[in-house]
Symmetry: C2
Amino acid sequence: MIEDKNQASTPLSELGEFGLIEHLTEQFEIKQKSTIKSIGDDAAVLDFKKKQIVVTTDMLVEGVHFDLSYVPLKHLGYKAVVVNLSDVYAMNAEATQVTVSIAVSNRFPLEALEALYEGIALAAKIYNVDVVGGDTTSSTSGLLISVTAIGQVKTEDVVYRNGAKPNDLLVVTGDLGGAYMGLQILEREKEVFKVNPNNQPDLDAYTYVMERQLKPEARKDIIKLLKDLEVKPTAMIDISDGLSSEILHICKASEVGCDLYEDKLPLDPQVISTCEEFKMDSTTVVLNGGEDYELLMTISQEDFPKIKANPNLTVIGYITEKNIGANLVTRGETKIPLQAQGWKNFDN
Amino acid sequence: MIEDKNQASTPLSELGEFGLIEHLTEQFEIKQKSTIKSIGDDAAVLDFKKKQIVVTTDMLVEGVHFDLSYVPLKHLGYKAVVVNLSDVYAMNAEATQVTVSIAVSNRFPLEALEALYEGIALAAKIYNVDVVGGDTTSSTSGLLISVTAIGQVKTEDVVYRNGAKPNDLLVVTGDLGGAYMGLQILEREKEVFKVNPNNQPDLDAYTYVMERQLKPEARKDIIKLLKDLEVKPTAMIDISDGLSSEILHICKASEVGCDLYEDKLPLDPQVISTCEEFKMDSTTVVLNGGEDYELLMTISQEDFPKIKANPNLTVIGYITEKNIGANLVTRGETKIPLQAQGWKNFDN
């Protein structure tokens, strides 16, 4: 798990900026029709004909969003792309291009950046997006990745956060809480490794939650599924900061309330067992854990027959009038107001 | 010149991510027709109808691209936007939107970010672009700004780097070398300040070169001018890394050579006098200094009558066959091959 950073080592200064960019980007193929001109000019040129485009950007910072003592660089590159694509899909759009900028200190050899770009290229291939630009620069400390993702969507298909209506169903994809529990495992193993670097951990029982943390996937499949089912959500958002925070975003933007049912929250058995091992409440983990990159959407009641048999979609509650507020209905049938924990990384 | 960092001080942790983003972005007005949805959803939504779009991204890193001991944060925000717009104009496109992501350590109070965003908002206003998204996150050290700029252009108007033909004229806007000499002044004053913090420097003789460094402008006006003159350059690039490097980019992409005339290089009198004071060769400064954000273009000979009287445009040489190479013709009429110095910040 802990990466060997002492493999081949080519200092970045040997290549210079242009050599480095050329070397790292030569593996990127162009497959999108909308990409007219990619890397190699002052800007990329794109042509979306009559479609609207969506643009989103996210930054991952070493020591804040990732810890290189247990995150392999290839996975990091993959994740940096995927978390941005997730935002594109959350608009019900098709992701088409990304730009990737990297700030990196001299302590990283070329081989480290190659691993990072391998992950970027793999995500681009799997999600069928073109890498059309970026910037590679040095930093005084650490690694930072800034990705901008672009997608296309027919005007009539865009889904915002603000369209939820009372009585709409609250629906989530996949299962939740895995990425956060994966992080707990990785942090624990890091501490074990510090004490005994020769310990060979047996992590077989945690493969799913660790993969949720290290190599999350964005729900491109859901955008296609919704199209096939002929369902257009009334509102949609991706779950990056925890379910609670995302529900509150939809409620605020749509000026509605909601009832969320604790007993409906989709949990993988490994999330449940890991929560038990760590003596954590799985509901708290789902509400505040974050980084699951599933989609949360609201769907009109009349579309319920179209989605009810689908294993990818779980109805977890429904939208109410604004004055009811956003509430969790517990297993004991108590109503508790939802609170956003989510992201707080400016705290010391 | 040296900023007082001990004014009002509100720790960032008081606001949290969403509060911070809301606070900092409420000043951004939307003015572009193509902006359908701006900040506040998973992604911005844009509609360019039949036009092509251009996308470019650049990152500015503290300690690498700027030194906060003499760069006011407002100017930094302004510059971070402008250097990206410059890339859009270099495609002969109209800049329309930007996204701005910031990674910032806890040592910055809210007021510092407000100053930064004031500069961003000012640039957006002056250049008529909408700020449609971004990310604000903490960093373990220092400040980093990543901007992505988007522009629109009619398909037939795009200008790439690869269209230069033998006998085309090599044309540059404005004057060169100022930004680099401004940096020399600022670095010198920083050293003086270290020795004697009470020294009140008299910088009147350097206002132009300092402004070129601290608050550069992008040549939006040139895109309009070229349209008015009915001139479409055969190739174009913005001058961020020094004239030499940019000429070599055009020559490489277009598979041509060029003769650049030393005695034609446009110099402001203040650049000349500052070079003399620092005992620097002004030609070297122009060729390798960088950060001037002027435009370098190649223009067909037949368009010469349209541009010859224009004070914004200077013919500095012409394009040759590739086998001639890219050369500087000195005042002494010696030919010297051009070399790219430019950006080398991976060196220690």
